[in-house]
């Protein structure tokens, strides 16, 4: 397909979706239904397909991530280094005190 060429694509959409599209046109966000759909596809292409984590999340939400029923599955960490880092950053390695600071419950 040549770049820049427009192709007629017939789509069937729920009436509510079409009404919402028309509302966006009335409000001046778009000039036509074609523009609404083209912009939506462009956004999906930019936001999703350029982002591997976003793709992973979409796979999860659509049931395409293979689950592992391994109750021990976790990330290996260097415990001493982790404790040292938390103490440097928060003055403590106590999870409750750190989360209070992270969530803005205490300063």
């Amino acid at each position: 397909m040549r770049k820049g060429r427009n192709v007629l694509v017939q789509v069937r959409l729920p009436i509510k979706v079409v009404e919402k599209m028309d509302r966006l046109i009335e409000l001046g966000y778009y000039n036509s239904r074609s523009e609404v759909i083209a912009d939506l596809i462009r956004r999906i292409d930019e936001e999703l397909f350029g982002d591997k984590i976003a793709l992973f999340i979409e796979d999860y939400l659509n049931g395409r991530v293979k689950h592992e029923y391994n109750l021990k599955l976790r990330v290996k960490i260097d415990v001493e280094n982790a404790r040292k880092r938390f103490k440097e950053l928060f003055g403590t390695d106590d999870v409750s005190k750190i989360l209070d600071k992270v969530r803005g419950r205490s300063l």
Partner: protein, 145 residues
Amino acid sequence: MIALDTDVAAIYFIFTWDKRYNIVCKLIESNIEKALTIYNVLELTGLMALAQGGVKATELFKIIHRRGDFKILYWKKYPQLQSVFVSRILDYIERGLSLGDAITVWFIEEYNIDTFITYNKKHFMNRVLANVMTPEEYLKSMGIA
């Protein structure tokens, strides 16, 4: 279904030196169906980034999603407008919740979670439509501990 707060998941995945580690393991490595909100997962991922760097953080993010015993709760109805998103968060903040707690409560109620498991009960009691228990209290109520 129960949902875990970040502190409980953090003890299990990162703060393994915490004195509550064994009881948290007992809860998480049981067959009880557990949920974590995506907000809590991101908070946990952030803690891992601080402790062990970004690569380990991303690894943790993916592992939690792959673990079949966890259900990650994403917004069922994510507001498309920023104005609506901010307004919804303010609804929860008005209950006397911090930003992070407010987003967590939003998920808990959207999914009708029965019990929220946290070591920070005082921040959630009477502010969320769910039972609020520590891991010890929950295991005891289930006759496990």
